[in-house]
Symmetry: C2
Subunit: 306 residues, 2 copies
């Protein structure tokens, strides 16, 4: 492998430590100070999130250019390819090469992937993988089974949202960013941020793949809305429980019910709504003991995000 | 044309009326009631936004499947193709056919488009238009010139954000949605919403194209973050001023400065920050007369959105 495999040999039988990966707002590569003016016309300096175009190749094939904060390009590359069904869990990765200067990342496999075979034989609609990918994605989604025995205790839910809200993050420093967290019980394990929400999800998928992490007993938390795409990705990653502080779309709910995914949204402070997979929820906390969400933890400025 | 061209012959020399198009939260096709449970385990009913997959064809070519609320599929189709440079301003559209049952929309042109020619000759990278599209998009972006004489008065900015915040919207009803508004002076003209922010932008682009609306004196407002993609789209649409309640990315700022776009973010209540194109701003309002943003106008729940 061209980069250090972190966390290999992680003992996942006992509960892992919290925040194996967490945002590093002090990393100078991730934010930038810029000058501007405020509503009075006065000159001000403000921190903004860095965002760069990263072009991804699978062997010789150019796949996509993604706007990202470039903190974990290798995990992003792996996760993207997995979540787009361009790479399968059993494909042998021989290298992941990130060139910081060219802003390119190449994922190489032992054998030509199924995706590339289809392209070669022009089985895929020429010109846009996006169109066909949707059909393939739905086909694969319908075959997903999620572990029924997984549980989420409301005490864990409250602990998780509190820990996530109070963790240092680029959001708190510079705004304009999305976050996702992979958790186990009341432990946030991996907290990834990015300008694009799907990038943050893909980085987690890449990390799980790289470290051979089982999804069965995990909880996925996102600041983003519970849309069909979010539900599909979570299910594809094999994670049975999805939580967000944001709202739902009807199709997101429908797909979650179809696949047996536990879907908990509008999770703020002591409140939440579950619209699918309610049977996995264990009401062990007295919700009245918990505080309403403090204003400072509300995400500044915008609507429920994408 | 297969659908009624609205607003044709609009007199744009005088200030048009407000809200030619505005969200209709009462449209039963756009939200759905679903049953679930809350944090006490009690059964509740809640409204969620409808989201459906819409597949877009350009002549015979399948392009993409988009998740959308299906209120303006024709504008979305047109705007998407324009903003992706698959259609040019001078292409002759002969039909836009939306099939509600199949969830398909086909845009037909007089002659084969430049994009299709490239596909046919395999000039485009096979397999993924997204990879090549980025290079093409940046090339086109660099050629954009925006009108220097355009202005935004702070009195207009305050009036606009107030009117937009108080307009009925799907957001207020069901959440999980993004909005964009095309404005002129202190008049919001077209307010589009969608589950995907780029869909809302594309619908406005489609409306402008269909109604032959000049972008030169327009202001574009988004609830979304001011990322590179947002700046590029606004510039491609020829609109010189972009406003958001959300934050910025560094590359968004850089591109805005490069192209001479006025970029105003974190516009909430009486506050805002301008990081590019400040010369177009006329400080005619006494900001201290305006109230701080009321809590109820804060977008519930989530971070600065995508």
């Amino acid at each position: 492998m061209e980069f250090t495999t972190r966390h290999q040999g992680l003992d996942m039988d006992s509960l892992p430590p919290e925040f194996l990966i967490t945002p590093n707002p002090d990393d100078p590569r991730l934010t930038e100070m810029v000058q501007g003016i405020d509503q009075t016309g006065a000159a001000i300096d403000t921190a903004v999130t860095v965002e760069r175009p990263l072009t991804l190749y699978l062997n010789g094939q150019e796949i996509v250019t993604m706007m990202t904060i470039l903190d974990y390009p290798e995990y992003l590359a792996l996760g993207y390819l997995l979540n787009q069904n361009m790479l399968r869990q059993d494909d042998q990765i021989t290298a992941i090469q990130y060139d910081e200067e060219l802003e390119v990342v190449v994922v190489r496999t032992e054998c030509r992937t199924d995706f590339e075979e289809k392209l070669k034989k022009k089985t895929l609609t020429s010109g846009c993988a996006q169109g066909t990918a949707f059909g393939d994605v739905m086909e694969k989604f319908e075959k997903v089974t999620l572990p029924r025995e997984a549980r989420i205790r409301t005490s864990w839910l409250y602990a998780l949202t509190h820990k996530i809200n109070t963790a240092p993050s680029l959001y708190l420093t510079a705004g304009a960013i999305h976050g996702c967290v992979l958790a186990q019980e009341d432990h946030p394990l991996v907290y990834m941020e990015d300008v694009g929400r799907h990038n943050a999800v893909d980085k987690i998928a890449g990390w799980m793949f790289q470290n051979n992490i089982s999804p069965d007993d995990k909880i996925f938390y996102t600041t983003g809305r519970l849309t069909s795409e979010m539900v599909i990705k979570t299910a594809q990653m094999g994670i049975p429980i999805l939580v967000s502080r944001s709202g739902f779309t009807a199709w997101g709910v429908q797909l979650a019910r179809q696949i047996g995914l536990t879907l908990i949204g509008r999770a703020r402070g002591r409140r939440f709504i579950a619209l699918a997979g309610q049977e996995r929820i264990v009401f062990d906390a007295d919700w009245r003991q918990h505080a309403e969400e403090e204003h400072k933890h509300r995400r500044k400025g915008a609507r429920d995000d994408d």
